[in-house]
Every structure is written in structure tokens, then in C-alpha cells.
């Protein structure tokens, strides 16, 4: 690993606390975040399955990682950059080719309201 070992920083994963057991998370909330519509039977079975996955992952808790730096990468690489140079873009027609709907060069989407 790169650099010196440090204390882990605060965990940015807000979805599920690592200590969560089977039932302690809200399947419908997670489904909403992923914009999934679940029937109640699906929510029940997926909730059970997710609970099993989390319980399995909870085994990692047994490891003492206090001295291990959190990392998202297995390779010790840093500072991967490219020079600031313009490269050709797609044509507008190519850019829109996969769009379900387009008009006047724009991607057309359902009306956005925030």
C-alpha cells in the first residue's frame, strides 16, 4: 500500500452501518434511492437476501483494521493524469444516436422538476 498507515477517516458510506444485522435496514428506502419499484413480496425476499449478504460481509468486522489505511484501489498508483489538450468530440448526430428521444440537438427527457 502507498504511504504511511493512518487511522481510518470517517466512513463516507451512509447506506448501511457495517454492524447492521439482517433486519436493521429499510429495503424500501434503498429501493427508492436506486429508483426501483418493489412489490411487497419482492421487498420481503430481497430484504432477506440482502440481510444475508450483509451478515456475511459482517465477518470482515472480525479483522482488526485499525492500522490499515482505507483505500479504494489495490494498485499503488497515484497522480494518473493526462495533458490538457482538446481531442475530437462526437458529432451531435452520433451523440444522440442512442437517445430514446431528441430534439434540436438536445437529449429529450421527461419534464424535470426539482
Amino acid at each position: 500500500m502507498h504511504g504511511t498507515l493512518r487511522q481510518p477517516t470517517s466512513n463516507p458510506f451512509q447506506l448501511v452501518e457495517p454492524t447492521v444485522a439482517k433486519k436493521d435496514f429499510d429495503v424500501s428506502y434503498v429501493a427508492h434511492l436506486a429508483r426501483l419499484e418493489l412489490a411487497s413480496a419482492e421487498a420481503e425476499s430481497l430484504g432477506r437476501q440482502l440481510g444475508q449478504v450483509l451478515a456475511y460481509m459482517a465477518k470482515l468486522e472480525e479483522l482488526d483494521v485499525a492500522q490499515v489505511e482505507p483505500t479504494a484501489h489495490a494498485v499503488p498508483l497515484a497522480n494518473v493524469t493526462r495533458p490538457d489538450e482538446i481531442r475530437p468530440s462526437l458529432s451531435n448526430a452520433d451523440a444522440l444516436r442512442n437517445a430514446p428521444a431528441s430534439n434540436d440537438g438536445l437529449f429529450v427527457v421527461p419534464k424535470i422538476v426539482e
Binding site: H2, G3, T9, S10, P12, F13, Q14, L15, L33, R35, A72, H73, L77, A78, N79, V80, T81, R82, P83, D84, E85, I86, R87, P88, S89, L90, S91, N92, A95, L96, A101, N103, D104, G105, L106, F107, V108, V109, P110, K111, I112, E114
Partner: protein, 480 residues
Amino acid sequence: MDYEPVIGLETHVQLRTQSKMWCGCANAFGAPPNTHVCPVCLGLPGVLPVANDAALRLTVLTGLLLRCEIPPRAKFDRKNYFYPDMPKNYQLTQYDQPSAMGGYVEFEFQGRIERVRLTRIHLEEDVGKSFHFDRHSGVDFNRAGVPLLEIVSEPDLTSAEMAYAYLNALKDILIYGGVSDCDMEKGMVRCDVNVSVRPAGSRGLGAKIELKNLNSFSGVRQALEHEISRQIKVLNRGGALVQSTRRWDEVLGVTEEMRTKEDAHDYRYFPDPDLMPLEPTEAWLAEVREGVVELPLARKQRFMHDYQLPAADAQSFVDDPTLGDYFERIARGAANAKAVANWVINDLRARLADSGWGLHDLKFEPRGILELVGLVERGQLSHKLAQEVFAQMFRTGRSPAAIVKERRLAQVSDTAALEAFCDQALAAHPGPVNDYRSGKTAALNFLKGQVMKLSQGKANPALVGEILERKLREPTPSSS
């Protein structure tokens, strides 16, 4: 009860790069929609974003300019949300390990130097632009992936006016550093505002209200003025404020609620697995440090101190840095820098504006202004004629000395010659002479004017005044 506002700003600034943050599409405003797009910034499957070196440098340069700490390591995270302005359904940003921490912005405000602390500066990508039609919306991704800084201030601002001054100071610094063009018309700077009010003098913080959709500094000021008085009214009526996000409606001049804390976004940040961390090396930092420039406020203070200029003159040279640089080249060797500043700010700037020229078009040597100042200072040229000489210098590029010699404009300080002009003027205008002698001393100015006319403007006005006064006090009238 008296309330005081507590304000913090999140300022988004587009960086001045050629290409976007993760791909080679042009970072340019105003192109036809979806023509600066590619598989990377359209978020097509299987693409690999690679960080733009120039954007990373400009980010750290901003941190250095604003006296931030540059952490040894920064990384990029995914901020997940569903909104069609980002085709990937996440925005790349620096969540818990940004490129710059702390720092501050110093600026003049109401006669004092204020310091607003910064929390952090992080680098992220701009999102696409949406257009709203009756039944659907359209999205242009030309802007998606443009490198965008977010500069987060501490809640150190205490009024709408102060927020406005802070933003202008920040903008000037970023322009000075070449970090961003900060063109408001092109949406290069946008703000989110956090504002709460608390009983005056207390330490706690009230419910934080976030204002969105602010794309001009005057909009920020107006929205804050409105929102502060709205919050105070609610509290004075015995109401309660809850943490929420409100949208500023520029047309109606009001803020309206968008969402409260209960439905705040859950962005589920996590480190981007495609992007490697940034670990600035000493050599790289040294290169970036070369881009650190003198900040506008420091420049103003230096001009006031080194050249003894009044604040307004120094500000002119801050607002127009190339004019200021030009002034400095001349003023370094000047005995009277203030006089040089007057020529540069008044006469030169006016002629440049009239002619449409830039400083690089100037035909005369910079030291020409120094010579001109010298001629006036030594009493060899009246200020009025010096302006004519300057006009000719500007047109032809010839030196002031050459112009003065050729046109015989040199000021007449030869007493005998001036005495003759004075006698002539006194003889020709007995009325004013009598006026002066009967106590109307203002008549002296008229007589002085006549002498200047006779000398075709070349007489030394101070000497003329002395001679006239002496002659008018003589017991025997020289006019008969």
C-alpha cells in the same frame, strides 16, 4: 428582539482549461448543444476518465493563492443522485479528501480589512444544462465534465453587503491568478448560500437555510436581503425556522421552499474506483507555486505605500493590471510617481479608450511620460501645453523634448519677457486694473488670463501672478 445574520457561501467556479476534467472535449461556452461531448462525458459504459493535469494544478494554485493547506493526498468520490443533468447518475467530486483545506479571503469592506475563513476547496465536475419546455425537458451535456471548483467559506459573513464584497474579492483573486475567467454572463461563477439568524450577540446558530439558484453576485445580495428579513419576521411572529433548502426567484424577488431536512438528498458518496488518488510531489508543487501572483489587495496596498498614491489611483491599477504594470515600469524611476499616475490614469487611459488602442500599440517610449512630467515639474512647460504635447506624442511617438523644441512650446520663465507681456495686459485693460485696486482681487485672474493669451499659453503662470501682483501694488499706475 434584534437578530444578526450568519452567512456562509459555497462558490462554484469553472476552471480555465482547454479541455474538460476527464476527457478531451473542449471546455468552451456557447457551442451548439451536445457538440462538445464524447463517450466519457456522456457516461457511456466502459469508459475510463483520466484527470486533467491543468485542472489539478489550477485547483492547487487556488489553494495557494487563498493560503490553504494542501493535503498530501486527495481523492475523488462519486456523489450519487438521479437527475438528468448528469448522464452517469453520479457527479465526480472530492468528498472527504479535498485538494485544499482552510485558508481565507481578505478584502476591504466599509473601510476595514475583513478576513473570511475558508473551510475547504474541492474539485468536481460541472453538470449538463437543462432546458424546460411545456411537456418535457431537454439536456445539453457540453458543460458536463467541465472542471469546477467549489470554494466553501466558514459562516463568517454578517450581512448581504459583506457577502457581495467577499464574492467580488474572490472573483478578482481568481482572475488575477488566471484560475478562471469568472465570466458571470457565461455562468462561470455560481453560488449557494447558507444563511441563518440568531439573537444579536449570541453564540449559537439558528436553523440553517440554504438558498439555491443564484447566478449573479447582485442576485446573492438581493436574495440574502430578502431571506434575512423573512427569517426575522418569522421569528418575531413567534414562528420557528427549520433547516431547509429554498430557491431564489429572481423575477418575483422571493425565496420559496424546495425541500426540508426530512427529504434531504442521500448521496451515498463512495470513492471512485476508476480514479487514482492525488499525491502532490514537492517538485510538482514547486511548479504550481510559480503561478502564485500578488493578490489584488496586496497590490493596492503596495501601490499606495511604494508610490504614495491615493487609494482611488491604486485601485485603478488593481482593476486594470496591465495599465498598472505599465505605470510601474515608468514610476520606478520617477521622483513624482503621483504625477506619472495622473498622466497614465487620466490622459493615457482616455486616449487609449478613444483610439481603441491597447498599450502594445503605443508609439512613444514609456519614458516619454517621465520626460513630460519632468518638463512640467521644472516649470519648462505649462500643464495645458503639456497635454497638447502628450496628444502629439500619442499620435506620432516623438519625444516630448523634440515636440516642445519644434513647436516652440517651452514655457517662458524669462522675467524680462514676462514683464513686457504683463505691462501690455495692464495697459489694455484699465477696468479690471481699477477693480483690483479698489479691492476686487478676483480681477487678478482675468489679467493673468490675458497674459497667458498674449504668451500663447507659454508664460509660467506662477511667475505671471507674482509679477502682476507686484505691478498692481506699485503706487504709480503703469497704465496711463
